[in-house]
């Protein structure tokens, strides 16, 4: 089974935006974390654009938490953009939506 995750990066003002498409699960979490941490290291602020993310498990939630902690440690801002469907449900159920800055679109960053 091929890894079901794709990345695309862009900038919006002083934000680096990493769009993640597909799934962040046990099989893809490490790849997602490495991709996002590398971008965060070079960024002023990091936003994950998750509009096309269909699935996230606790392995993915751990990635989000590590990114938020790393951003805080580096005095950078971290935000999540455009969650929907199951991803939105899981963030709410876990209480994660209270821990991160979440906005509906990149324009709101």
């Amino acid at each position: 089974m091929a890894e079901q995750i794709k990345f695309a990066s862009s900038t919006a003002g002083d934000w680096q935006v990493l769009a993640i498409e597909g799934r962040i699960d046990t099989l893809t979490a490490q790849t997602a974390e490495q991709e996002a941490l590398a971008l965060l290291a070079a960024a002023q602020n990091l936003a994950l654009e998750l509009e096309s993310l269909d699935y996230i498990s606790s392995a993915g939630l751990r990635v989000l938490l590590r990114l938020a902690k790393e951003a805080q440690r580096s005095a950078k801002a971290f935000a999540i953009v455009g969650v929907q469907g199951l991803v939105k449900e899981v963030l709410a159920e876990s209480g994660m939506d209270e821990l991160f800055t979440t906005v509906d679109s990149v324009a709101e960053l």
Binding site: M1, T26, Y55, S57
Partner: protein
């Protein structure tokens, strides 16, 4: 000598499939689950929800059941309104359903202990654990029942 407990034997032992308790084994289990739920006609939305609960359960077993390489067994059953997933391993007796859930306010301070079990509880109608005899040995037997249609 302590009181001897009655041993329950897993029913329908022939309908189970065995996988290695590894990432590769998990991928094959997920592929088989998808084939099964496609045949049942599960909606795409419910499919994702089922995969979430299944991943949390299966990966927990794969990650923690064995010190040495071991196997995980799976049996899938379709009922009129639900799908039953049974998982079994021969690791040390361990009931994952008793794991403590970490709540949101604790998340920023510590690791996400118990988050997976919380997602399982939110996914399945019913979860049962028992330590049962299966093919001549005692094993951890987890039964997960999932509603085919979302309850309002």
């Amino acid at each position: 000598m302590g009181k001897k407990e009655k041993v329950h034997t897993v029913a329908n032992e022939k309908n189970w499939k065995v996988y290695s308790a590894t990432a590769a084994g998990y991928e094959q289990m997920l592929a088989d689950l998808r084939d099964f739920t496609t045949a049942v006609g599960l909606s795409a939305k419910r499919q994702l929800r089922l995969e979430l609960g299944f991943e949390e359960a299966a990966v927990n077993i794969i990650s923690y059941a064995y010190v040495e390489p071991g196997d995980i067994y799976m049996c899938l059953t379709a009922r009129s309104e639900s799908i039953v997933i049974e998982l079994l391993d021969y690791g040390e007796p361990f009931n994952p359903l008793t794991k403590r859930v970490t709540r949101a306010k604790e998340l920023a301070e510590r690791e996400l202990g118990g988050l997976g079990i919380d997602l399982m509880r939110r996914t399945f109608l019913l979860m049962e654990y028992s330590y049962d005899e299966f093919r001549g040995r005692l094993g951890n037997h987890l039964t997960l029942i999932f509603a085919i249609d979302e309850k309002e």
